[in-house]
Structures are given as structure tokens and as C-alpha cells.
């Protein structure tokens, strides 16, 4: 899985591969990195033809569509050449995450091609290399989205929480004084041999997590999405609903008592 199954060829323009390969577009907006890529999938692997990554947590809505246009142009493709859309399902901050998902859904619907979803943490886990790693992205409010991977395969459900609480449920690192020391057997096993943490959230909270942090990748890489959806693309699996991994409920408060108008 971690051999050179994909090659990133940086210099445009490319010819769209003829014969065999099918063309996919990847979009992910689950993190501050607004990512679009054009890739070719064939029986031998996935080839990234063009990628666009811009880190800007506040401009997903402005950046993503032009990025899709630009990767198509760099790859010498038109929208009609596309065979599938692959989208990062999050978890991620809601507003930005929805930009990628609705863009992907609209592209797939408009072109009448299937859409496939990939958990955005999985793309980081895929890229993190062999062994056991904690993947963490920034969830704002001093929290992280996280999951644990072994050889690129996810062992835990994607979750959101404070980095210190993650340690409790995950069972890694020093417990803060007074905290409930409850490394469960399963969590304790997870801890064994975890070699590193990866992702933007790991960088931000490295001191709390207490694990070595990999420099790269910091954000979910386009190649990971393409690789993780490749089997579905090849098998021409039916389109999937692109259901966002929100992991948090909307903030909403029920109205209180009517305030008196008479004093």
C-alpha cells in the first residue's frame, strides 16, 4: 500500500491517458487545505495528473471551484471527460466541509457520473506509512478530529474531542493530574507501538499528545483519496450519498421564557 503506487507528475500540460484508465476528480475541503486533483485510475494503480492545494481556512467557497477548473485544464481534460468524483467526507469544520461535498455532488449530478466518499482522516492515515499512528486534524474550539490507523487501515471510528481527552479514550500519553485513569484493555493495546501522530491537529497539540509528529503530510493528500476510492472507481460501483461526518450536533438553544415587557 505504501509503495510508489502513484506518481505525482508536476509539470503541465499532460495528455489525458488513452485506453484503460478512467479519469476522476478529487475534492476535499475538510481542513484549511482546499484540495482538488485530477487523477487517472487503471488496473495498475492511480496516477495523479494535476493537483491544487491552497491552505486558507476562510475561503473554501471561493477557492474550490476555480481549483477544479484549473486541475482539469492542467490535465488537458474537460468536465465531460470525467468518470467519477471522489470527495472527502470530513470530519471537518462544517461550513468548509459542505463546500467540498456540495461541489462534488453537483459535479457528479451534472455529469451523471458516480460520486464516492472517503473519510478525510483516512487519506492522512493512508499517507502516514506503516505501523500504528494517530491521525489528528484541527476541529477548532481547542479540539481535534482524530482516529487511529495501523498500516493505513483505520482501527477506531472518527471522533472529535479535546486532545487531553483523546488520550484518555485512546490510552496514550501521561494522564493529567486528577483525571480518571481508565486506560481500558483495548485502549491500552492501541497505545502499544504507536509510533507517531500525523496531521495539522497533531502539530497544533503536539505538546499535549506527547507523540512524535510526522512533518508531512499536514493535510489529507489528494493521492490518498484517489487511492482509497480506486477499487470502487475500477469496479464502477454505484454512486454513494456524500454524507458529511459532522460528529458534532448543531449549536441551537431553545427559546427561554418570554421577557416581561412591563416593569
Amino acid at each position: 500500500m505504501f509503495e510508489n503506487r502513484y506518481r505525482l507528475r508536476p509539470a503541465p500540460p499532460f495528455r489525458v491517458p488513452v485506453g484503460g484508465g478512467v479519469l476522476i476528480v478529487v475534492v476535499d475541503s475538510a481542513t484549511p487545505a482546499v484540495t482538488a486533483a485530477l487523477a487517472s485510475v487503471d488496473d495498475t494503480g492511480v496516477e495523479l495528473l494535476a493537483a491544487s492545494v491552497t491552505v486558507d481556512a476562510r475561503a473554501h467557497g471561493e477557492l474550490l471551484a476555480p481549483a477544479v477548473t484549473s486541475v482539469l485544464a492542467k490535465g488537458g481534460a474537460t468536465p465531460k471527460d470525467l468518470d467519477a468524483v471522489v470527495a472527502g467526507l470530513g470530519p471537518g469544520p462544517f461550513t468548509g466541509l459542505r463546500v467540498g461535498l456540495v461541489t462534488a455532488a453537483a459535479l457528479a449530478d451534472s455529469l451523471n457520473i458516480p460520486a464516492y466518499g472517503v473519510c478525510s482522516l483516512d487519506a492522512l492515515g493512508w499517507a502516514a506509512g506503516p505501523g500504528r499512528v494517530l491521525v489528528a486534524t484541527d476541529a477548532r474550539r481547542k479540539e481535534i478530529y482524530w482516529a487511529v490507523y495501523e498500516d493505513g487501515v483505520r482501527l477506531t471510528d472518527p471522533a472529535v474531542g479535546k486532545p487531553a481527552d483523546v488520550l484518555l479514550s485512546y490510552g496514550a500519553g501521561p494522564l493529567s493530574a486528577g483525571a480518571d485513569p481508565r486506560p481500558e484493555p483495548h485502549a491500552a493495546r492501541l497505545l502499544d507501538g504507536t509510533r507517531a501522530a500525523v496531521g495539522d491537529g497533531a502539530h497544533r497539540y503536539a505538546d499535549i499528545l506527547g507523540l512524535p509528529v510526522l512533518d508531512e503530510p499536514r493535510y489529507p493528500p489528494a493521492a490518498g483519496f484517489a487511492a482509497l476510492a480506486a477499487d470502487r472507481v475500477r469496479d464502477r460501483m454505484p454512486t454513494e450519498p456524500l454524507t458529511p461526518l459532522y460528529l458534532r450536533r448543531p449549536d441551537a438553544v431553545l427559546p427561554g421564557e418570554r421577557k416581561p415587557a412591563l416593569r
Binding site: 474550490l64 476555480p66 455532488a105 441551537a252 412591563l262
Partner: protein
């Protein structure tokens, strides 16, 4: 639908609206309405007494594609047939707007169509063209919705819209919603107050007319204020409750509604006369109110002003109004927006398109 003939050479435009709690996708050809598909999350907000932005945004994401399918099926057209895609780019709830804007971009780029990011409020005005044909210019527009209450001088609906005045506190629709809440009527409050008012006496309670006294008119001739009215209603109702007397909901509703409609129409007629304008168009959710229609017609008739109010379904948020404005912009030769167009939750009234 209008009874105007549909000319093939008129622009076929699809409009996407997600600024609040309605996911609307409409399709028009010229001034002819072909589809007006709507999915609403209003029921999910009702118990909160107002729209919860994140709940609305989540609902938009789920509703966009199915609503698109319904609109295309209703109109009997394919996306490849449309000449342009218009989308509400503001004002509205930031997260909600962004769903529609990103969807419009995805559809526009995949189908290789021009995109127009348009002003929701200008669309509330433009929707009337679907009912009554091209808007005579100049016109005065009275825009009364859940978030806005403004008088506009419309010299060119595609390029020159000038605000004359606005509410200095609550919007008219907001006042309906708040008064409904204190009368124990459901959200949104406009329709139940309108209904209750039919059985009430509009002159039963003399509620205040905001910014209508001579000294207020000097500085606020075309401005509105509804927060004092809302408080007056709250005090009146509470005094009744404290006295252990029943609240005559119908009379309160009718008297409140009369106070709102009185001020709105008086100032609208004043604006028409002061600017020598012969057309008043009323738009936004409150334009669906039955009393504002009759009162505006009554008062305008006295001064030879023509009133145009679209049918109620077109007054509240929908995609057809966005398509109508888009169609007008295409016909007027306005340059499309760029694919990096932003959603602007505070888009000013003077911006028709971005």
C-alpha cells in the same frame, strides 16, 4: 404561469436560493415561470422560534440535488438546455448561502454555463416580472421580508438600485414573527397573524406608527421602526394577562397588522409621489400579507400609482425569484460572475450582482 407567449430566444435561466431556510431552485424562460421547486427546513426550526443557521445549512446540503431534479423535471428541460445559472450570493446566513453558491459553481462548471451571483433582495423585487412582465423603470420597490424593510428607487433593475430608507431596528417580517410568538401563534408568524387578523378589528387598539410623527419624518422620511410597536403590543398583552383578562388575539393581530401596513404603504406612496414614479412594486415575505395588498392598492389608486405585488408563493423565498433576476441580467447583457465569486452575508442593497 403568465399567459405571455414563451419565445424560444428568451434566456432559459436556472436560479438557486439558499440564503435562509428554503432550498429553492426555479427555472424561467424570459418572464415565464417554468419551475419553482422548494424544500424547506422550517419545521426543524419551529421549536427554536427562529431559524438555526447550522440546521438550515445541513438541510440545504441534503436538499440541493433532489430539488434540482424536481425543478428540471417540472420545467421539462435538461441542465444542458439552460443559458445561465443564477444563485443568491447574499445577503443571508453565511453558511447557508455558501451551500447554494458552491452548488451553483459545481453545476455551472460541470455543465459549462455562465454563473450570476445575485442579490437576494433585488431578486425579491425581480420576481414580480414573472407575474406582471417587465418592470417599468423607474419604479419604487417596497421590500419587506424577514430580515429587511426598505424603500428602493429602481432606475435600472440590472444596474441601478438606490435605497431611500430602511428599518432602523426590526424588519417588518421579524415584527410579525415576534408578535406571533407573544400571542402564542406558530413560527413564522406572518401567515397566522394574517389569518387571525381577518376576524379582528384593525381599529380596536391604537398601536403606535413608528417614525411617522412630523419630527421623525424630518430625519427619517423613508425609514421604518417596528421595535417600539412590538414592545407596545407586548405591554398591552401583558397588562391584559396581569389583569386576568383574556387576550383578544384577533383584535391584537388585526391592530398590529394595521399599524405595520399603514406605515409601510404611507411611506411607499410618499416615495412614489416625491420621485414622480408611477409604479410601486412590493416584494419579500411580508408582501404575501393580505392587508398590505389591499391597503397599497387603495392608497395608490388615489394617486394614479400602479401597484404590483406577486402572488404569495412568489413573495417568500424561492428559486424562481433568483432565476427571474438572472434572466433579467442575461437579457440586459450584464457580464457573468467569476467562478471565485464569494458569498456575502452582508451584501448591500446597491449590489445587484457580483
Amino acid at each position: 404561469m403568465t399567459d405571455q407567449p414563451t419565445a424560444r430566444d428568451e434566456p432559459l435561466v436556472l436560479g438557486i436560493e439558499t440564503s435562509c431556510d428554503e432550498t429553492g431552485i426555479g427555472i424561467v424562460r424570459g418572464h415565464t415561470l417554468l419551475a419553482d421547486a422548494i424544500a424547506s427546513s422550517v419545521d426543524e426550526h419551529a421549536r427554536f422560534g427562529g431559524v438555526v443557521p447550522e440546521v438550515a445549512s445541513r438541510a440545504h446540503l441534503e436538499a440541493v440535488v433532489p430539488t434540482m431534479h424536481r425543478a428540471l423535471a417540472d420545467a421539462g428541460v435538461a441542465l444542458s438546455d439552460v443559458d445561465a445559472i443564477a444563485v443568491t450570493a447574499g445577503p443571508g446566513l453565511a453558511g447557508a448561502l455558501l451551500v447554494g453558491v458552491a452548488a451553483a459553481k459545481g453545476y455551472a462548471l460541470a455543465a459549462e454555463k455562465p454563473i450570476y451571483g445575485v442579490n437576494h433582495l433585488a431578486a425579491h423585487v425581480a420576481v414580480d416580472t414573472l407575474e406582471h412582465g417587465a418592470l417599468p423603470e423607474p419604479a419604487i420597490a417596497l421590500l419587506v421580508s424577514g430580515g429587511h424593510s426598505s424603500l428602493l428607487l429602481v432606475e435600472d433593475l440590472a444596474r441601478k438600485v438606490t435605497p431611500l430608507g430602511s428599518t432602523i431596528d426590526d424588519a417588518a417580517g421579524e415584527a410579525f414573527d415576534k408578535v406571533a410568538r407573544l400571542l402564542g401563534l406558530p413560527f413564522p408568524g406572518g401567515p397566522p397573524i394574517d389569518r387571525a387578523a381577518r376576524a379582528g378589528d384593525p381599529s380596536a387598539i391604537p398601536f403606535p406608527r413608528g417614525l411617522s410623527a412630523a419630527r421623525d419624518l424630518a430625519a427619517h422620511r423613508y425609514d421604518f421602526s417596528f421595535s417600539g410597536l412590538k414592545t407596545a403590543v407586548a405591554r398591552w398583552v401583558e397588562a391584559r394577562e396581569r389583569a386576568g383578562e383574556p387576550v383578544p388575539v384577533e383584535n391584537v393581530a388585526a391592530s398590529f397588522q394595521e399599524a405595520v401596513c399603514d406605515v409601510l404603504t404611507a411611506k411607499a406612496v410618499d416615495a412614489c409621489r416625491a420621485h414622480g414614479v408611477g409604479t410601486l412594486v412590493i416584494g419579500g415575505g411580508v408582501a404575501a400579507n393580505s392587508r398590505i395588498r389591499t391597503l397599497a392598492e387603495e392608497r395608490c389608486a388615489k394617486h394614479g400609482i400602479t401597484v404590483r405585488v406577486p402572488r404569495p408563493k412568489l413573495c417568500t423565498d424561492n428559486g424562481a425569484m433568483v432565476a427571474a433576476l438572472g434572466s433579467h441580467l442575461v437579457a440586459a447583457g450584464v457580464t457573468p460572475s467569476k467562478l471565485d465569486l464569494p458569498a456575502d452575508s452582508a451584501m448591500p442593497l446597491t449590489t445587484v450582482n457580483v
